[in-house]
């Protein structure tokens, strides 16, 4: 299959997928971590995270530009040597599955605890995984269209609904960030909160699918998306802080869920809007999971290409099953949260620094090899796409 025959996505679709690929994990506890450590100065932690994520995103795009018509998992073994390349591939597959499982556990526990107390957690896990696998089934173009169609209403609905909670702000002085900043607690909170931005490495798999000539635009849109997410999170942070105050935010299990659960509209046909959260978070997490599964399936196909080619559908099913099985191992959300904090955040951050720097370093030393890989990728000789 030549690269010209690949399913293509537009710059906007790429940016939507990249954005949807990292907002699913950190929304549950936001902004508890930064506020617990840094108090009223927590907002600086979010902005710091945003800046770090922006820098790492730029670095990741530079990695993708090394061989723009091939996925990272596709060209890594050819550029970095097979052991290192396959290590990165296997790591990516495992990391996507771990992210998917963790996000599944976190939302299942919220839904099970608040809305569906009699429903077994495995049923919610399975339902979400199956929905996400179904979304990813049609491949990148179908998934991109689905996400594009759902994210705009999602953003409008989120903004409107959180604005309703803003009417309960009783301490407007809390909206102004504190001038008292303790650096170490701020960095600690910021580190834990980085969970919100984990997952945009999906861009290394999505990059070759962008239409020719749209790649610069796609990168720009993705960065605008990141800035938009930081702005939206800032708005949510301000509302939550202004309503509850820093002491209570530190004790809330799901601060955003609590913000929705204080909304009471008399006269409206739905008087309590807490249930709206089930819709919003399900869309966000289903989008996150479907991208994880698509990426994992794709990277698995690349990994297995030389040993035993795996069709995309089978790879997707396998990854969905792995994610579901892994999710079942978590007894509760606290364990998932600890897993995120101790493993996913440090390992993800490390990968986002090490992988691009390694690739860019090796690429600068092996220029001829890079040119060769680009030519091969353009001809589609090394590439098999779902």
């Amino acid at each position: 299959m030549s690269s010209q025959q690949l399913p293509r996505i537009s710059a906007g679709q790429f940016a939507t997928m990249v954005t949807a690929g990292y907002t699913g994990l950190g929304i549950f506890y936001f902004p508890r971590d930064v506020v617990s450590f840094a108090g009223r100065a927590g907002i600086y932690g979010l902005w710091l995270d945003g800046l770090v994520a922006l820098g790492l995103m730029r670095l990741t795009f530079r990695l993708s530009r090394v061989v723009p018509s091939e996925t990272f998992s596709g060209f890594a073994p050819e550029l970095l040597s097979q052991p290192v390349g396959y290590f990165f591939d296997a790591f990516m597959v495992a990391y996507h599955v771990a992210l998917a499982a963790s996000a599944t556990v976190l939302i299942s526990m919220v839904l099970g605890n608040i809305f569906l107390p009699s429903t077994p957690i495995w049923a919610i896990d399975g339902c979400l995984t199956a929905t996400s696998a179904y979304m990813a089934w049609a491949g990148v173009a179908g998934l991109a269209r689905t996400l594009q169609a759902s994210y705009l209403p999602l953003l409008i609905l989120s903004t409107l609904s959180i604005s309703l909670a803003a009417t309960s702000i009783t301490h407007p002085e809390l909206l102004v960030p504190s001038a008292h900043v303790a650096i170490v607690p701020l960095l600690e909170g910021s580190y834990r909160q980085f969970m919100i931005f984990l997952g945009f490495q999906a861009s290394t798999t999505l990059y070759p699918f962008i239409r020719e000539g749209d790649r610069v635009k796609a990168e720009r849109y993705s960065m605008f998306g990141l800035i938009g997410i930081v702005v939206a999170m800032t708005f949510q942070y301000e509302v939550i802080m202004g309503v509850f105050g820093p002491e209570m935010v530190s004790t809330l299990r799901w601060p955003l869920a609590s913000a929705y659960r204080i909304i009471s509209l008399s006269g409206f046909f739905i008087s309590k809007l807490g249930t709206l959260l089930i819709v919003l978070w399900t869309i966000v997490v289903a989008g996150f999971l479907s991208i994880r599964l698509w990426c994992a399936a794709h990277d698995l196909s690349s990994l297995m290409r030389k040993m035993r080619p795996v069709p995309y559908g089978w790879a997707l099913g396998l990854m969905a099953a792995a994610s579901f099985g892994f999710a079942l191992l978590f007894p509760n959300a606290k364990v998932a949260d600890l897993f995120n904090e101790r493993w996913l955040v440090p390992v993800g951050l490390g990968y986002l620094v090490v992988a691009p720097l390694t690739v860019l370093g090796v690429a600068s030393l092996r220029r001829q090899r890079v040119l060769h890989l680009r030519t091969l990728a353009e001809r589609g000789k090394e590439y098999r796409s779902p």
């Binding site: 108090g39 009223r40 605890n113 608040i114 809305f115 569906l116 107390p117 009699s118 429903t119 077994p120 049923a123 919610i124 399975g126 339902c127 199956a130 929905t131 696998a133 179904y134 089934w137 009783t170 301490h171 002085e173 809390l174 504190s178 008292h180 309503v243 509850f244 105050g245 820093p246 002491e247 209570m248 609590s258 659960r261 204080i262 909304i263 009471s264 008399s266 309590k272 807490g274 559908g313 099913g317």
Partner: protein, 378 residues
């Protein structure tokens, strides 16, 4: 053909799985098998470490009655409009299980609108209940919270002036702050922002059922989870002025042309600072009030100036008095400590125990009065 069949099979299995799991059969309990609890009452149990929880709900007759309400017929009559069950245990869940065993339907807490805590509830029990209530998944954060010294039966069977379930009556009362003399309504999430937090104490409206009907004109004050006392109507008026919760109070000035003001409403701004281990709190009140009677037929600028000064002085004095009472009882009703922790955390966290500092807070009360003249409204 085989490939096509496999695809169809995969699609069918996916759809079947989604259909079965998305249907939410596990949590699907029809309405006629549910008992919709509207109010919950928390009282001390037979031993100090036990709690008795009452669950009040409309009966099928009450739910299907034409006006959707009953008139205090909880216990008696051939077809009571509402009923209550109770459970006792060492924890909320134990009490709930015992109450659930007494009714043949699912006790559903998702529609609860009122939580009432007995003033006799020990602090330890109150703390455990606060924690347990926060973990009830179906209960959101919007029910109103109140205190009472009356037994639960009296609270829910009080004769209503309006035809209504008691819990719904109180919900309506608290939902409309401008309809009542004081905006005392406190929702569960607002209670949680005060309970167990350093630098602020809890104030709850106190429900007082009387033979004439329900009365809510007093507040119960707490130190942490410990009930400290109830402030009478006069003190509650002063507290409402101090906290910016006054909506329809009145002021009279017999020495100044027998002037009377009504619709006294205010907003409060609090600031706190600390210097040399001394905390200074500044309460700024913006009051609007309407001049309704005066023994001269028409007010003049000089009279308005005098009345403005007099009412400002009176309000400031009353506010200062109630704040000093709060210091005597050691209940930080305005949240001076919390304010200090927000604006000057370093100073606040130097105090090991805020309740040792609060009685020594130095107050300044500013009162800015805006008078709606008789001519403005007539």
């Amino acid at each position: 053909m085989t490939k096509r069949l496999t695809r169809w099979l995969a699609a069918f299995l996916t759809l079947a799985t989604l259909t079965l799991t998305l249907a939410g059969c596990w949590d699907d309990i029809p309405l006629d098998r549910r008992t919709l609890v509207l109010g919950m009452g928390f009282y001390p149990g037979p031993t100090p470490d036990m709690v008795t929880v009452y669950f009040s709900f409309p009966t099928p007759t009450g739910l299907t009655s034409s006006n959707g309400a009953g008139s205090g017929g909880g216990g008696g009559g051939s077809s009571p409009q509402f009923s209550s069950v109770s459970g006792t245990g060492y924890s909320l869940s134990q009490a709930f299980s015992q109450a659930q065993a007494k009714v043949g339907r699912d006790l559903y807490l998702g529609h609860t609108v009122l939580l009432v805590f007995s003033t006799k509830l020990p602090a330890q029990q109150f703390k455990l209940l606060d924690n347990a209530i926060d973990r009830i998944g179906t209960l959101d954060k919007t029910p109103f919270v109140a205190a009472t010294s009356a037994p639960w039966d009296t609270v829910v069977s009080v004769k209503m002036v309006q035809e209504e379930f008691p819990a719904l009556y109180y919900e309506e009362l608290f939902s409309c702050p401008r309809c009542t003399q004081f905006a005392l309504g406190t929702r569960l999430w607002q209670t949680s922002t005060r309970l167990g937090k350093s630098g602020v104490d809890l104030v709850l409206p106190q429900l007082s059922p009387t033979p004439q009907g329900p009365k809510v004109d007093q507040v119960a004050v707490y130190r942490d989870y410990q009930y400290v006392g109830t402030w009478d109507h006069r003190q509650t008026t002063d507290y409402a002025l101090a906290a910016g919760k006054s909506r329809k109070s009145s002021l009279t000035f017999p020495d100044h042309w027998h002037a009377t003001f009504d619709a006294v409403a205010d907003k409060m701004q609090l600031s706190a600072s600390a210097r040399d281990h001394q905390v200074y709190a500044v309460v700024t009140l913006h009051v609007t009030q309407t001049l309704v009677t005066l023994d001269t037929t028409k007010e003049n600028a000089q009279q308005l100036s005098v009345l403005s000064r007099a009412s400002s002085q009176q309000i400031a004095d009353r506010v200062l008095k109630i704040l000093e009472l709060s210091q005597k009882q050691n209940v930080d009703v305005l949240g001076v400590g919390r304010q200090l922790s927000w604006t000057n955390p370093t100073e606040f966290y130097r105090f090991k125990n805020w309740h040792e500092e609060y009685p020594h807070v130095h107050w300044t009360v500013h009162c800015i009065v805006r008078i709606n003249k008789m001519g403005d409204t007539k």
